[in-house]
């Protein structure tokens, strides 16, 4: 029972982190039709910047400064890179962000080195929030939940209740019309791209000390975030939210389940003998294939719903 509760909370924390990344990705995608491959790299930069900034100012100012820097970086990428690549077609934009992944990866290694950073949870939040059945729930994870929920509420309010949000929403579907009404649509694009990068940066700040801040963190996070976006349906924020929480749960629950496919069919009186690939496939415990599950699930859902969970459009 306590395992279920702890996993549920951890899954929620991880799912919210995923959603912070995936929501920025979805916003950028639905507006510009570009899936930003470098999104997870911005997440990594956010974590590294937060580490460096927090050396000088402490954790809480870094919580603001690092995402802002990431947002500026995103704006620069959009204005000087993506906009030029746009002229060469749709695939060129994808390729451009894909190339950025390599560059950011190496630049981070060149600036901060190959070893993990000593980016730690601030002492103020380094205590167990509550304990049940002997298991501690760290206060920092509660703080993560708070930050991500607050950020998402702020984004939602910005999109739904303000004038800027209204223009952004209109530009999502009718860019020509919005442009004809006298709004600077390219600037709206820049703002959205920068905003998405800011969200990624913020996710990096709170995710960097939850996981480890090291050069491989973008590669570890990237594929999962893309799976979430595809699973939820490209361009759908709601689907993206459900998919994020679901994937977060899957990932945390998988590590504690020790059953295998064979256990599922055992009651039917089937036993497997011999040492071959099939036996191996049937007897491998779920805990070991946890890393594989998101990808397998993505393929499964695409077989039955090619547009993803709540996707409304093809690309």
């Amino acid at each position: 029972m306590e395992i279920v509760l702890v996993s549920l909370l951890n899954g929620l924390v991880y799912g919210m982190l995923l959603f912070m990344l995936a929501s920025g990705l979805t916003l950028i995608f639905s507006m510009m039709g570009v899936l930003n491959f470098a999104h997870a790299s911005i997440y990594m930069i956010g974590a590294y910047l937060a580490f460096t900034v927090s050396q000088f100012t402490g954790f809480f100012p870094a919580l603001i400064i690092a995402p802002v820097l990431c947002g500026l970086l995103g704006a620069a990428i959009e204005v000087w890179g993506l906009r030029r690549a746009h002229g060469n077609g749709h695939i060129a934009e994808l390729l451009f962000t894909f190339g950025l992944v390599f560059i950011i990866q190496r630049v981070v290694q060149m600036t901060w080195g190959m070893l993990p950073m000593a980016y730690r949870v601030p002492p103020l939040l380094d205590f167990p929030l509550f304990t049940f059945y002997g298991a501690h729930f760290p206060a920092y994870r509660g703080f993560m939940l708070l930050v991500s929920a607050g950020m998402l509420l702020a984004t939602w309010l910005l999109l739904k209740k303000t004038r800027v949000g209204l223009i952004i929403q209109a530009a999502l579907t009718q860019p020509q019309m919005v442009s004809a009404l006298g709004h600077n649509v390219p600037r709206v694009f820049t703002i959205v791209f920068a905003g998405g990068c800011m969200l990624a940066g913020l996710a990096g700040v709170i995710g960097g000390n939850y996981q480890t801040t090291e050069p491989g963190m973008a590669d570890a996070m990237g594929p999962i975030v893309f799976v979430v976006v595809v699973f939820g349906g490209l361009g759908s924020l709601m689907g993206c939210f459900i998919a994020s929480i679901f994937m977060g749960m899957i990932q945390t629950f998988a590590v504690v389940i020790n059953a295998s496919l064979l256990d599922l069919i055992k009651p039917l009186g089937i036993t497997l003998t011999g040492d071959n690939l099939f036996t191996e496939f049937m007897t491998v415990p779920v805990a070991r294939i946890g890393a594989l599950l998101p990808f397998a699930l993505m393929i499964l859902i695409l077989l039955f719903r090619p547009r993803g969970l709540m996707g409304t459009r093809d690309t």
Partner: protein
């Protein structure tokens, strides 16, 4: 004017006779003949007559170029010809490799009566088989969603390769022995030079087959569904079927490449199907040029050279490749081959001489900029990665202190000064280029 002329012509006569095409084609034929002869002769240029041995480094690099050419060419069947941005191409290369190791083991044990020369065909079939399964899922979508799905497939296979030990052997991979004592021509394939010629033969065969495929109706429909898939639907074709067939066939050729990889190294680990190799296929195809058939071969040769040359000298060669790739995406979307081809009309018109001086004027600031860029990257990388490895930066025999201000200042001045200078010169180069192009235009349409 032109309209009136073409209307006055009899209908059965083609309106535009491409005069330049056959010349270009025969010139291309010559180029490829030269490349082939060079590929055959290259190992002998590095033959050591005192020890009677080929240079191992050169032979293994050439073998690598061969396999990578197949990989890049088959990748271009998707990206260049069908407009599909795939991120799991190495999956089929890798599965071809793993399967080949098992085929070799079977053949070595005597239960697979097949000569070594024909085993890559089986590798291709393994690639094809897996491509049917994954292609069925991935080709339901196109463009961005296709890229995402292939990313997931690639990750799925990489994680699976680390988990299931029977087929993939886990982290250690699987190994075998290529000397199976069964050959069409009686070779033992113990020496790497024999394997190189086997690779060359398969590369040539695959390249010709892929060239042939571009001229079939399928190849044409792939181009059409890349450019306008809705129109393809109106014409009664199913673009999904076109994508699927193209995907499956490209998986077949990638599998052949993987088979040659397995035969060469006699060991296959998960590196052969992991994401970096997929990315490499993309880089090679794109930098070489995806619009020309030979572009990926050029890219494969170039990247392999860089990989075995620069990566020995520099920790940060991926930065250079990444920056080269991004600049290509923005400024030269048709790759190196596209840049070369753009000069075709000018050279044919005999006007290339007028570009020499502008070129020199662009290249000088370009080199300054490059020097500054390399300087900044290397200084930064020695400051962190190099320091961790205990290396020091040595230039012209003298040590350079990466903590001093002077080298950094010099590098930044070169980079930023070169950048501004380059922009000015590039603009004047652009004017000369546009002038030449507009001069040539009336001539071309008259011909």
């Amino acid at each position: 004017m032109n309209m009136a002329k073409s209307f006055s012509k009899p209908i059965d006569e083609p309106i535009v006779r491409p005069v330049a095409k056959p010349i270009a084609r025969s010139a291309q034929g010559w180029v490829w003949t030269v490349v082939l002869i060079a590929a055959i002769a290259m190992p002998w240029l590095f033959y050591n007559y005192t020890t009677h041995r080929h240079s191992g480094f050169v032979v293994s690099m050439l073998s690598q170029m061969g396999m990578m050419s197949i990989l890049a060419l088959s990748y271009n069947m998707l990206l260049g010809q069908a407009g599909l941005f795939s991120l799991c191409h190495a999956t089929f290369f890798g599965i071809g490799g793993y399967a080949t190791i098992h085929f070799l083991n079977l053949a070595g044990a005597g239960s697979l009566p097949l000569p070594l020369e024909l085993i890559p065909f089986l590798s291709g079939l393994s690639g094809l088989g897996l491509a049917i399964v994954f292609g069925y899922m991935a080709t339901k979508q196109r463009a961005t969603a296709f890229a995402m799905i292939t990313l997931g497939i690639g990750e799925l296979m990489t994680t699976a390769a680390l988990m299931f030990h029977h087929f993939f052997g886990g982290e250690g991979g699987v190994n075998s022995n290529r000397m199976i004592d069964h050959s069409l021509f009686g070779f033992k394939y113990g020496a790497s030079i024999q394997v190189y010629y086997l690779i060359l033969a398969w590369t040539l065969l695959s390249a010709l087959a892929m060239l042939f495929l571009t001229r079939t109706p399928l190849g044409r429909m792939a181009n059409a569904s890349r450019d306008n898939f809705e129109r393809v639907q109106f014409m009664g074709y199913d673009p999904r079927m076109v994508r699927f067939l193209q995907f499956v066939l490209s998986g077949f050729f990638a599998g052949i490449g993987g088979g040659l990889y397995a035969i060469t190294y006699e060991i296959v680990t998960f590196d052969a199907l992991a994401a970096p190799l997929s990315a490499n296929a993309l880089l090679m195809a794109y930098i070489g040029g995806i619009s020309a058939f030979g572009g990926p071969i050029l890219g494969a040769v170039l990247i392999t050279l860089l990989q075995s040359g620069v990566s020995l000298m520099s920790n940060s060669w991926l930065v250079y490749v990444g920056v080269l790739f991004i600049s290509m995406v923005i400024f030269a979307p048709n790759g190196i081959m596209g840049l070369v081809e753009a000069h075709g009309p000018i050279v044919r018109a005999g006007r290339f001489g007028r570009l020499v001086v502008p070129y020199v004027r662009v290249i000088v600031p370009g080199l300054v900029m490059l020097l500054g860029f390399v300087g900044v990257v290397e200084l930064a990388s020695f400051l962190t990665i190099g320091a961790a490895q205990g290396k020091t930066l040595v230039l012209f025999g003298s040590k350079i202190d990466v903590h001093a201000v002077l080298p950094w200042l010099a590098a930044f001045v070169c980079l930023i000064g070169g950048l501004f200078w380059f922009r000015i010169e590039a603009q004047s180069f652009g004017r000369v280029w546009d002038g030449l192009m507009s001069e040539l235009k009336p001539q071309r349409s008259a011909a």
